[in-house]
Symmetry: C2
Subunit: 152 residues, 2 copies
């Protein structure tokens, strides 16, 4: 019988995190995909504008850590669907201010309700203590490779 290796893939954090992320994204994805035909990048842009209000594509990129080409395409899609408008900045004409339309805000609010309910369901599996530890740990891990975090 061939010696079984003792490395446990299920304990390897990058792998485990990916499994958890994918599994927990599924149910939410089904909704924004089927209900609005959106992509992941699209709901993210929608949420950034819904939560923080007017901002440029660049700032969305800094906050969300998505590449600017992804954002550019997501913005184009959302504009096409009349969920947002762009306005070239007077001060710096390279950048455009993005802002949700009424329809965009409505979509955002609906999806936000779904997200909140879903998050509650996910979190309900854990004690308040566990939730705190989990969220704090995930935030730390999300800093991996950035200034201030390890591995850079």
């Amino acid at each position: 019988m061939p010696k079984k290796d003792d490395f446990d893939l299920q304990e390897f954090l990058p792998y485990l995190l990916n499994q958890a992320a994918e599994a927990s994204s599924m149910a939410f994805q089904k909704i924004y995909k089927s209900r609005y035909g959106m992509l992941r990048t699209e709901w993210r842009v929608l949420f950034h504008l819904g939560i923080y209000g007017r901002m440029t594509a660049n700032e969305i990129g800094r906050r969300s850590n998505m590449h600017k080409t992804k954002i550019s395409r997501a913005v184009a899609k959302l504009e096409e669907r009349r969920f947002l408008t762009r306005e070239r900045s007077a001060g710096d004409r390279r950048q455009e201010m993005l802002e949700l339309t009424q329809a965009g805000r409505t979509a955002y609010r609906e999806l936000r309700e779904v997200a909140m309910a879903y998050d509650d369901e996910l979190a309900a599996q854990f004690s308040p203590q566990e939730q705190r530890v989990l969220r704090a740990a995930l935030k730390k891990l999300a800093q991996t490779g950035r200034a201030g975090g390890p591995y850079l």
Copy 2:
């Protein structure tokens, strides 16, 4: 001043998990990509065979939760690079037994060392208690949408 929305994207678990997963995968990805030209699916297949020994593509799929087309392509790539061999099963000639070659085992062992060291580094940010809570929570979340878990 427009009312700032109170939904906190940084607390939304699917989003937070994704951020943590991506950030923490980066450093490891750099290594298997630059050193072996591998894709995520490829190191996963390599690891499954390295850890558990001979198995079929199908079983890798069940364990890793990757779609069979991804696995099929990863296996083809790994075979091309002479990291594994396939052998059609005598009992059921639809399936093929996959097994690492010597070169495959060497690559696996090297990457395993990297993975273990990296995981240690990541985990070092947390107390033993926090680590237990984190890993347990991630395993639960990874079950989301499966039989036995919520949302199905």
